[in-house]
Amino acid sequence: MHGAVARRRGRLPAVLGAVLATLGLLAGCSGAGALGSAEGVETVTVAIVSNPQMEDAISLAPEFEAENPGIRLRFVSLSENEARAKITASVATGGGEFDIVMVSNYETPQWAQNGWLTDLEPYMAATPGYDRADFIPTVRDSLSYEGRMYSVPFYGESSFLMYRRDLFEQAGIQMPAQPTWPQIAEFAARLDQGEGRQRGICLRGKPGWGEVMAPLDTVINTFGGRWYDPQWRAQLTSPEVRNAVQFYVDLVRQHGQPGASQSGFSECATQFGQGQVAMWYDATSAAGTVEDPAESTVAGRIGYAPAPVVATPSSGWLYTWSLAIPQTSPRKDAAWRFMSWMTDREYIQRAGNDPDIGWTSIPPGSRQSTYQIPQYQQVANAYAPLILDGLQRANPQQPTVQPVPYQGVQFVRIPEFQDLGTRVSQQVSAAIAGQITVDEALEQSQNYAETVGESYQR
């Protein structure tokens, strides 16, 4: 009896010790992710946003490592909001955790101006066959600061309207080559079967400057509205903005999806993919999702139209996820080697020919040559030309009718916009939920915008 107790007492610390020792060993010096680094191998850490095309790139990365035995890749894949916060904190404070970061055309010129990013022109010039001129010009310009590129595009997107061809035919509606928003509202009313059944259109309503504000900003622009006049006076209570926001809120409340104030891209993708809405206005990258039979029951029955307009000739947005090297990275050459591999023409071929990825899921909207590839033309004929056209016609310098002091289509390219856009989006989302009126939402938004604008008036 005594012996048994003593044995048990003796055994517990031993087992505990062994477990701790194993865990300690596994931890290495900094964590389990650091295991397996060999001598003479450079480890490049890449921070990316976990969207489908990026996940595909991760799955192809072993091919890069096989071709470049001196480089080992490690990916930190986070959702958009977390990635943006984390990358911003790391780059701004010189945290140095990452050798490559995924940023957009919102960050790149601002960060380049701050001196946080590496000028990529010398690297591009020293890489034979890396065709800089092949990038879609608007995309390339949006990633440049003083004419030099500080990040290279992995994919680009504009916005367009997706609609169910079959439903339109049944209802005898012809989609115009360039629809207007009032036309879309009329179609939505005709195709709306009422609550609990198929609704007319899906529009984002979720708070967030990258959520509801993205499509709404394009509507504001094409209605002739703007965030600021050239003297940085806030314009959110102007008649143009009022009309645009009232139109958007009315449309989604009357003929939009259920739970609209909580819908973002993913929710609308599901609604549209399940055949529960007749139209969806969103990012062109949605085509890859809704045309994938594994994710959508309406694949092959979808028509596409350019972003609807009112007072401007076009209204699609311009957005691109691109790769940049923080100034702090000590492994710039290795980082560039991988970045150039991932943004090269060859990568598109590699992804398209990969049996697990395929031509419908290649990263679109970065290079003009992508749109000359016969296999891609064959599978993406319905929407690919619209993506290219939308990107080429997007005008971040002059997004609306009247002049503006800022750049950007679906955002205002100033550091304060992340906060301002999110606050305004919360107001709009509350209006979509019916908690406040559009006028109340815009009054409050105007206050926020005035505060930001004042700091630019001096």
Partner: protein
């Protein structure tokens, strides 16, 4: 106002003879049972739905009429494993196990000191402990980030071990203090009369009595450390990422993700559920320990 509206129903009725009263008591029991079931189901349902969703295809995962009948698939779990869950799991284990051990190592003597051997200004000490929990974490993340960056400890799992220890220590001291207070004072007096040194008193008399309480405290620390997201996402990158950080990698802004996220979340929850299940008896004993006066 509130008092008048919440008058118990039986005071309004005339005094009932013994038999109906028993009936009423059993009726009250039934009601209590119903409420317990409703609350239980309300808490359990999201977990059940998560597990169910993890076996769905993405197209079935988020439908306006939620689907209960579908063709189950293990595809999402394959996806999670192929995304490399291993290092994240190990990091979470390290952060959880080591921080909990440190908390117990520091917390047991501290709790002993502020309960059975009250030191000077015990109340102030206790208040100081809990006051460290009053500031929201987000308010201190910038200084913490800057300091960790300066000393070159970003993306290091031991940083999380230290932070989680600090995070759980106040709660642990408070919890364990209430358990220590349950120890009968006579036992301690007896021990000191017998001339037992402090360490022996603690080890051989006090700890065996309150071991269920320590167990409960440890489990709470394990759960908090395992689920901690904010420090982890801000202070780690490729080396030291933990399970919650791994989870958000499945949220995409441009695609469908509910089924795969559910699969990853189910896997992430399993170790804690297992730990809780194994410790169930001790835990119930421990949680009700401090409550009985």
């Amino acid at each position: 106002m509130a008092i008048t509206t919440s008058t118990p129903p039986d005071t309004q009725e005339p005094a009932a003879p013994p038999e109906p009263r028993r009936q009423k008591r059993s009726a009250a029991n039934v009601w209590l049972g119903v409420i317990a079931w409703v609350v239980g189901i309300a808490f359990f349902f999201p977990v059940f739905w998560m597990v169910l969703t993890s076996f769905k295809q993405e197209t079935d995962a988020y439908t306006t009429t939620p689907k209960i009948i579908f063709e189950p698939t293990l595809e999402q779990y394959e996806g999670v494993f192929s995304a490399g869950v291993g290092p994240y799991l190990v990091n979470s284990l390290i952060a959880t196990v080591f921080s909990t051990l440190l908390v117990l190592l520091l917390g047991i003597p501290a709790a002993f000191a502020v309960s059975l051997r009250p030191v000077k200004k015990t109340q102030d000490v206790l208040f100081f402990f809990i006051s460290t929990k009053m500031l929201p974490v987000v308010a201190v993340i910038v200084p913490i980030y800057v300091v960790v960056n300066q000393i070159g400890m970003l993306d290091n799992i031991w940083t999380l071990v230290v932070l989680y220890t600090g995070m759980n220590l106040p709660i642990a001291v408070w919890m364990m203090r209430s358990f220590f207070l349950e120890v009968p004072g006579e036992l301690l007096e007896q021990a000191s009369i017998d001339g037992a040194p402090l360490w022996r008193t603690l080890r051989e008399i006090v700890l065996p009595i309150i071991s269920p309480g320590i167990f409960a405290t440890a489990l709470i620390c394990v759960i908090f450390a395992w689920n901690e997201f904010f420090f982890a996402v801000n202070l780690t990158a490729a080396n030291a990422g933990t399970m919650p950080v791994f989870l958000v990698g499945f949220i995409t802004s441009e695609g469908l993700y509910w089924a795969q996220l559910s699969a990853a979340a189910t896997l992430a929850a399993l170790p804690v559920i297992l730990a809780g299940w194994v410790a169930q008896n001790k835990l119930v004993q421990g949680l009700s320990f401090g409550a009985v006066k």
